[in-house]
Amino acid sequence: MSYTSMETNLDQQFDPNRMTTYEEEFKWLKWVPLILEILLLTWGMINLSSATAVEDKSAGLWKTQMITIGIGTVGTLILMFPHYSFLSRLAYLIYMGNLGLLLAVLAVGRSSLGAKRWIGFGGFSLQPSELMKLSMVIFLAKFFENKNTTNGLKFKDLIMPTIFVLIPLALIIVQPDLGTAMILMLVYGSILLFLRISPKLLVLITIAAAVALPVVYNYGLKPYQRQRITTFIDPMSDPKGAGYNSIQSMIAVGSGQLVGKGWKKGTQAHLNFLPEHHTDFIFSVFSEEWGFAWCSILLLLYMLFIMSGLSVAYRSNDKFATVLAFGITSIFFWHIFVNMGMVMGMLPIVGVPLPFMSYGGSALLTSMSGVAILVNIANKKYMF
C-alpha cells in the first residue's frame, strides 16, 4: 500500500512529530524489562544462596543456577539483536521442534518424583514443557497475525488454534506436569480474551466449564491431585499430611512479619520444614527472611516488570509483535500470581516456579529468552 493511503487513515493522535518526541524522551523505557530482570535475578540469587544453604539435596545448587544465568546471558545477546521477524518466519518450526522434544520426553525422558519431564544432554537436563510456553506464544502470535479479530472470535475460529494448543497440552499432562499445563491454559485464554472472543461464545464457554469442572474433578484427576484441592479448601483437615506443605509455607510467610528473620536465618527453611524450598516454594524462604517490607518491594518490582512488558506490547506497531509481547508478559504474570498465591495458601499446590527466583534451568532460560524478545521488540520498532 502507498504512503498516502496510510496518511488518510491517521487521526490526530498519531501526529508523527508528537510520536518522535515522545519516543525520544522515553528511549530508556525500551531497556526497562532488561534492567528489572537484572535486579530481580540479583535479588533472586541472594535469596537462593540462602535457600540452598540447607543441608539437603539443594545444597550448593546456586552455583548451577549461576551457570544457567551465564548461558541465559549468551542466549539473551543472541536473541536480542536480529530482527524479531525471524521468530515469525520460524514460528511453526519452533512449535514443531518443541513438540518433538515433548515426544522425546515420553520416549527417552528422565523421571523424577514420579514424573517424566526431562531429557538429558550429557550432564544437563532440559524440561521441554517449560520452553513450550514460549513456543506456544510465538505460534499463536503467528497464527493470529493475519486474522482480524476486531469483531470477536467465533467458535469455528477457535477450532484450529485450540487443537494446536491441546496437542502439547496433552503431552504435558501425561508427564504429568499440571502446573505447566495450567499456565499454558491461562496464557492461551489470556491471548484469546485479549484478541476478543465474541460475547455469545464467551457465555457458552463459561457454561461448558461450569459443567465440565466437577466431571474432571471426579474422573480426570488422580487421587493425590484431588487431595491437593481438598486440603487447599481446608488445610487443617490433615495438618501433618497432605496439608503439611501448605501450612508450613503459610507459617513461613507469616512468621517473616515486617522485617523478616534475616538472611539465612529462616528456621522454616533451614530446619527443613519447607518442602521444595529452593524451587516452587522459594518465595516462602524469601518472605520468611525478608519480611513484609521487602516482600512488597519485590511485588512492586514484579508489577513494574509486567507493566514494562505490557508497554512493549502496547507501543509495538506490528500485530505479530503485539500479540507476542502480550503473550510473553502474560506468561510472567500467571507464574507470579499462581506461585505466590500457592505459597500464601490462596491456591492449590501446583508446580509453578517464581520467575527469576526459583531454582530451575529450563524455567530460567525460558524467562530470560522471553525478556530478550521483549527488549528486541521494543528496540526494533524504528529500525525500518
Partner: protein
C-alpha cells in the same frame, strides 16, 4: 509493513489494554493484601507457630550394601559410629559456653582450642545448625557424654554408620572407602542421578570415594527412608512423633531400602596369604584365574583401614595418609607402573619365536656382556652364562641372549606387537577405576614423543624390560594369563555378582575377551618350559623356592631405578638407600599343566624379584593349590615328593 495492514487491529488491541491493566492491578492487589494479612495481621501468631514447630521429617539412613568374597565370607560391613555435635545457638543461650566447652574437652580428650577452632570455622552458617566436633567416639566417651548431657546444653551425641573392613587393612585399596559428600561434589553427583530423584544425595550423606565403594556406588547405596520426629525450636530431636499418639500423615514412616551386596571373585584366604607373604615388604599382588579373568587376590601394601575415613576422617589421620611417602591410599597393582624388568623377557621370547628369528635350537654364547657401537651391554651374571638357548635363557634370565635376539629382530615394533596383544601398555579395564595405562614403546611413538628416530641400542634395553616400557602389576598378570591359556586375553574382573538383600542375583559378570593372539603351540611349550625351569631347574633364578610336590612356574624380574655405571652395577642392593633400591617383580602360575592361577607380585625396593617378590607369590600359590586341589597337593604328597632323589637343588637365586 504490517503496521499498515493491521493498523486498525492494533489500535483495537491497544484499546483493550485498559482491561489488562485492570486485571494486573487487581491481581497484584490480591497478592499484596494476602501478604499483609499473613505477615502483618497474623504475623505474631505465625511467628509463634514457627517457633513451636515441632514435627520434623528426619532421615533414616539406609544400610549400605555389604561386600563378600567368592565363598560368601564377609569382607566389608557397616557398623554404628558415634559422633558429637555442638549447636552454637543453644550453646550461647546456655550462658556458660566456656564451661561447656571445657567440660566437653575433658570428656572427649580434645583440646579446648580445637573445639573453638571448629566452631569458629562455621561462623557464616545459621547458628542452629549442629557443628561436628568429634567422630568415631569410643564406648567410654559415649557413656560419659550421656551422663554429663544435662550439664552441657548444646552438646549432642548422634549415631551414624561407618564402614568396616573385617580384615582391617587387607585389600582396602581394592574395596576403597566412603566419606562425607563435600559441597563441591554434591551438584555433580545429583546431576547424574536426575533419573531417580528419590535417591538424590544430601550434604551429610556418605558416598564411595575410591575403589569398589566408588565404582559400585549406585548399587551399594540404599534408599534412605524417613520418619517424623518431634523436635524443639532449635531442631533437637525429642522423640519419634508417632509415640505421642498424634494423628499424623498417612506416609509418616517410609522404610529405608538397603543397598545391594557385591560378591567378589576374591578369595579371602588368598588375600591373607598375600599379606603373610608380604610381611614388611611393600608393593602389590594380583592373582588372576587365566581361564576367565577372575581376580582371585588383589592386595596393595601398605594400606589403610576404611573405618578411619568413613565419617569425615580425623585431620591427623588424613594428613598422615596423604603425606606418607609409601602411598597407602594408592592401589599399587593398578596405579603404579614400572619397567617390567626380566619378566618382559618372556614377551621378547614369544616375539622372537613367533617372528621366526630364533628356533628352539638357536644358541648364543653369553660372556657377560656384548658391545654395540662403543657401548657395552652387561648381563646381570658378571661372568656370563656360556651357551644358552631360549629355554635356558629364560630359566637363567640371561640378558645377553635377549640382546642378541633384539639385534636379530627387524625392529622394536615386533616386540611391541606381541606386548600389546598380550595387554601390556594399555588399561585392562578392570572395574576398579583409576588404572594407569603404562607404555609399550614403538618407533612411531618415539618419533612423536621425542622427535627422534629409534636407535637400535634401545631395542636391547626394551628386550630385557629396562627401556621405555612401563607396565602395571595387573597387566603382567594378565599377559602371563593370556600366555598360559594359549593366547586369550580376558578382561580382569573383581565383582562376580551383585545381589539384593535376599541373595537374588541382579547382575552377573560374564567373562569378556579383550584380545586373542594365535600363538604357535611350540612357542607356548618352549616359553613355559623356560618358566618351569626358573623355579624347578638347577640354576633357575628362583630355584631356591623349589618345593617338590608343589610345583609352580614363573619369571623373576629386578627393576633398576637408575641407569648405573658398570662399577656400581654389581653393588650390593641392600647397601643402597631404600628409595634407590631395585624393585622386585615376579609373575608365576600353577599348576604347571592347565594353570588356573597366575600371580603377579610387585615388591617395591625389595632389591630382587627372586628374593623380594617370588616368596610372596609362592605363599599365595601354595595356599591356592592346597585349598583347590587337596587331592594332589597335600602334606602327604609333598613329603613323598621330597624323598625322591635329586628333588632339592641348591641355588642362591638370581635376577
Amino acid at each position: 509493513m504490517s503496521f499498515i495492514g493491521n493498523e486498525e487491529q492494533i489500535r483495537f488491541l491497544q484499546d483493550r489494554f485498559k482491561y489488562i491493566y485492570g486485571i494486573l492491578f487487581i491481581g497484584i492487589g490480591v497478592l499484596l493484601s494476602r501478604m499483609f494479612f499473613l505477615q502483618m495481621i497474623n504475623g505474631d501468631q505465625m511467628r509463634q507457630y514457627s517457633e513451636e514447630n515441632r514435627i520434623k521429617r528426619v532421615k533414616i539412613p539406609a544400610p549400605r550394601g555389604m561386600i563378600f568374597d567368592r565363598e560368601g565370607k564377609l569382607l566389608i560391613d557397616n557398623r554404628p559410629a558415634f559422633f558429637v555435635n555442638i549447636t552454637p545457638q543453644y550453646l550461647k543461650e546456655s550462658g556458660k559456653p566456656k564451661e561447656v566447652i571445657e567440660q566437653l574437652s575433658r570428656v572427649i580428650k580434645t583440646p579446648v582450642e580445637e573445639i573453638e577452632r571448629k566452631l569458629q570455622k562455621v561462623k557464616g552458617q545459621a547458628s542452629f545448625m549442629p557443628v561436628l566436633i568429634k567422630d568415631n567416639l569410643n564406648r567410654d566417651e559415649v557413656a560419659a557424654l550421656e551422663t554429663w548431657k544435662i550439664n552441657m546444653p548444646g552438646v549432642q551425641v548422634e549415631m551414624g554408620i561407618s564402614r568396616m573392613n573385617i580384615a582391617k587393612d587387607v585389600g582396602s585399596n581394592l574395596y576403597g572407602y566412603i566419606g562425607k559428600i563435600s559441597t563441591t561434589e554434591l551438584p555433580g553427583l545429583n546431576q547424574l542421578l536426575a533419573s531417580n530423584s528419590s535417591r538424590k544425595y544430601q550434604l551429610d550423606d556418605s558416598v564411595g570415594k575410591s575403589g569398589l565403594e566408588k565404582q559400585f556406588e549406585e548399587y551399594l547405596r540404599g534408599v534412605d527412608g524417613s520418619e517424623l520426629v518431634e523436635v524443639d525450636a532449635i531442631g533437637r530431636s525429642i522423640q519419634i512423633a508417632k509415640n505421642k499418639g498424634r494423628v499424623l500423615a498417612q506416609n509418616q514412616e517410609e522404610p529405608s531400602v538397603p543397598g545391594k551386596n557385591l560378591i567378589l571373585s576374591i578369595d579371602q584366604d588368598l588375600q591373607n596369604a598375600a599379606m603373610k607373604g608380604f610381611g614388611a615388604t611393600q608393593g602389590g599382588l594380583i592373582a588372576i584365574d587365566p581361564r576367565n579373568g577372575e581376580v582371585l587376590a588383589m592386595v596393595s601394601r601398605p594400606s589403610f583401614d576404611p573405618a578411619d575415613l568413613s565419617r569425615g576422617a580425623d585431620a591427623d589421620i588424613w594428613a598422615k595418609l596423604i603425606s606418607d611417602e609409601n602411598h597407602p591410599l594408592r592401589d599399587k597393582t593398578i596405579q603404579d607402573h614400572f619397567s617390567p624388568g626380566s619378566t618382559f623377557k618372556t614377551i621378547t621370547a614369544i616375539a622372537a619365536l613367533e617372528e621366526g628369528v630364533i628356533t628352539k635350537d638357536t644358541t648364543f654364547n653369553c660372556t657377560g656382556s656384548i658391545s654395540v657401537g662403543n657401548r657395552a651391554f652387561h648381563c646381570w651374571q658378571k661372568h656370563g652364562h656360556g651357551n644358552v638357548n631360549v629355554v635356558s635363557a629364560l630359566t637363567h634370565s640371561c640378558d645377553v641372549f635377549f640382546y642378541r635376539v633384539a639385534q636379530k629382530l627387524k625392529s622394536v615394533d615386533d616386540i611391541a606387537k606381541y606386548a600389546m596383544h598380550l595387554g601390556l601398555g594399555r588399561k585392562t579395564g578392570i572395574e576398579v577405576g583409576r588404572e594407569v595405562p603404562g607404555l609399550i614403546p614403538t618407533e612411531a611413538w618415539k618419533q612423536q614423543r621425542f622427535n627422534a628416530p629409534w636407535s637400535s641400542g634401545e631395542t636391547l634395553s626394551v628386550a630385557i624390560g629396562q627401556g621405555y616400557d612401563l607396565t602395571t602389576t595387573i597387566q603382567l598378570a594378565n599377559a602371563y594369563a593370556s600366555l598360559v591359556n594359549g593366547g586369550t586375553l580376558y578382561k580382569p574382573t573383581v565383582v562376580k555378582t551383585i545381589q539384593n538383600e535376599d541373595s537374588k542375583v541382579i547382575k552377573e559378570t560374564i567373562p569378556q575377551i579383550l584380545d586373542r593372539t594365535n600363538l604357535k603351540k611350540e612357542t607356548v611349550e618352549l616359553v613355559t618350559e623356560g618358566l618351569w625351569g626358573v623355579v624347578n631347574a638347577p640354576g633357575g633364578t628362583a630355584n631356591w623356592l623349589h618345593t617338590p610336590g608343589l610345583e609352580f612356574a614363573g619369571k623373576t624380574g629386578t627393576v633398576q631405578l637408575f641407569t648405573q655405571k658398570a662399577d656400581k652395577l654389581y653393588l650390593k642392593c641392600t647397601n643402597m638407600p631404600y628409595k634407590q633400591r631395585h624393585h622386585g617383580v615376579f609373575v608365576g602360575y600353577a599348576p604347571i599343566k592347565n594353570p588356573s592361577i597366575v600371580v603377579a607380585v610387585f615388591a617395591e625396593h625389595a632389591c630382587s624379584g627372586s628374593h623380594g617378590a617370588a616368596p610372596v607369590a609362592k605363599e599365595v600359590i601354595e595356599t591356592y593349590l592346597k585349598k583347590y586341589y587337596p587331592d594332589v597337593y597335600n602334606d602327604k604328597a609333598i613329603a613323598e615328593a621330597k624323598k625322591k632323589p635329586g628333588a632339592v637343588f641348591q641355588s642362591s637365586g638370581g635376577d
